[in-house]
């Protein structure tokens, strides 16, 4: 085997080739850290001994806590057991959410920012109406009941409208808008009436209605002249006629008397009642005169119908008249 010729390799400061720089020796784990501690303890002990040797007043033995050596053995065994347990159960078993520790920093920063904000504006808390939570439960139950109703019945009210209702309603609404405008712009009542008209109107109407009550009466048209006047006329006619006749007999030879008789036709219309009564008083008997006098006292108007008591029956009135006639 060709020997590795190292003469041509570059020689470092220590005159060793790189291939020879490998340390062939091995040491225990953490050897140097433990050695360092031991060396430092050794130095401390020697310093302490030297101090005690130099100063006889301080020449005392190193002290340990009371009962230290008594518990030392237990402490060492507890330490050994702890180490064994750690060797068996390397993990605690607790887990955290994914990315927990990565986000932990942000969470802490957010909390700190919130705390800072609160220090500036402590009243940022939202406000709610008074008794909100007391009423909230009731509201929630009501909402649940409403939803149950909707699920059962649905949104249909059951009401219907007439055919073409909405078309007509639209037209009506448009009309009302126009009417409102006219009412506002033009007003409503433009006609006027004379002063005091309505008071006068009432009086006029009442005069034509209440003031003109046609009572239910029996109206029988009596002859123009009372019955007794008929008798009187007949009696006078007879008397005068008789006288005229006898006068005529006597006047045949007297033309003037004839003319007087011819013109002596009695016109009873022109003779007053009193005159007729006076005449009949001379020719009539007492009883007839009394009866005739009663009639003579009635005021009589040719234009009026004599009104009788409405309680008298028509038949009775006719009988009376027939009797009288």
């Amino acid at each position: 085997m060709k020997e590795n010729n190292t003469y041509n390799e570059e020689l470092g400061g220590k005159n060793l080739p790189d291939s020879l720089r490998v340390n062939p020796f091995a040491i225990p784990t953490n050897f140097f850290a433990e050695q360092e501690n031991q060396i430092l303890h050794q130095i401390m002990l020697e310093s302490l001994r030297d101090f005690n040797e130099n100063d006889e007043s301080n020449a005392t033995e190193a002290k340990v806590p009371e009962g230290y050596f008594d518990t030392l053995e237990n402490n060492i065994f507890a330490k050994i057991a702890e180490q064994d347990l750690k060797d068996q159960v390397s993990e605690e078993g607790f887990i955290v959410p994914d990315q927990y520790f990565e986000q932990f920093g942000q969470t802490i920063e957010g909390r700190l920012a919130e705390e800072n904000l609160k220090s500036f504006s402590p009243t940022l808390e939202y406000q709610i109406p008074e008794d909100y939570f007391a009423k909230a439960e009731e509201s929630i139950f009501a909402k649940i009941a409403e939803q149950n109703l909707r699920d059962t019945i649905g949104n249909d009210t059951g009401f219907t409208v007439p055919t073409e209702y909405f078309t007509q309603a639209t037209a009506e609404i448009e009309d009302r808008i126009l009417i409102e405008k006219w009412s506002k712009d033009l007003g409503k009542e433009h006609f006027a009436v004379p002063t005091g008209y309505f008071d006068q109107l009432s009086d006029n109407i009442l005069a034509k209605t209440v003031g003109d009550i046609p009572e239910k009466i029996k109206v029988i048209t009596l002859p123009k002249r009372p019955i007794w006047k008929k008798y009187a006329a007949a009696a006078v006619a007879i008397i005068v006629g008789s006288g005229a006749y006898f006068g005529l007999q006597n006047s045949n030879s007297n033309p003037q008397l004839q003319q007087q008789v011819a013109s002596s036709e009695v016109n009873l219309e022109n003779i007053s009642d009193e005159e007729i009564l006076g005449y009949l008083a001379q020719v009539s008997e007492g009883e007839d005169l009394i009866q005739l006098a009663e009639f003579a006292t009635d005021e009589y108007n040719d234009d009026e119908k004599t009104q009788l008591d409405s309680n008298i029956d028509d038949d009775e009135i006719e009988d009376y008249l027939n009797y009288m006639l």
Binding site: W182, L186, K188, E189, H190, F191, P194, F198, L201, V210
Partner: protein, 181 residues
């Protein structure tokens, strides 16, 4: 006084006059204005109103109370208005199928007792272009604020027909206004 009380009092002869006075007090002006808006002239309205209440006096004892009293009164008043206007047509040799608009327009223009301005006169002129029954419907709805049910009872026309009539009347009036501008 309630209508029922008026009717009851009228039925009793001893209180008939008092009942009629109460009825006059309650309805006189309403009936007058109902008539006036139809016949336009105050004197004509006066005559017709008096005739109406004379008829009421004569016939109230026969009122069967199958409708409201005011409905019955309005019905009489409406019929008297139409009768009067028909007589006017005959007098003016106007066909019964035509309206009285020219006569009434002249009455409106010439007559006294109108205190409206130009725009209000225009409204009255617009109303006179409507057929009589349509004008009646409009008057009762617009001026007297009667409900369709009430107008239906008075005129004997269905509510639907009344609504259509009123709508047409409003449209015609609007067209009249626009055409006059």
């Amino acid at each position: 006084m309630e209508d029922a009380q008026i009717i009851s009092m009228f039925a009793d002869e001893s209180s008939r006059e008092a009942a009629f006075k109460q009825l006059l007090k309650k309805y006189q002006q309403k009936i007058y204005w109902h008539v006036r808006r139809m016949v336009i002239d105050h004197d004509d309205a006066d005559d017709v109103t008096q005739d109406i209440f004379v008829k009421v006096w004569r016939n109230l004892d026969k009122f069967r109370e199958d409708s409201q009293l005011y409905t019955w009164l309005y019905r009489i008043a409406t019929n008297e208005c139409i009768t009067f206007l028909n007589k006017k047509k005959q007098k003016n040799n106007v066909s019964l199928d035509d309206d009285n608009s020219s006569y009434l327009s002249e009455t409106l223009a010439d007559g006294s007792y109108f205190n409206g301005d130009k725009a209000q006169m225009k409204l009255q002129q617009a109303l006179l272009t409507l057929p009589e029954k349509q004008r009646l419907v409009f008057n009762m709805k617009y001026f007297e604020d009667l409900k369709y049910d009430e107008i239906s009872s008075i005129l004997g026309t269905s509510v639907g027909a009344l609504k259509a009539s009123y709508h047409l009347a409003v449209k015609k009036i609007e067209h009249f206004f626009n055409s006059q501008d």
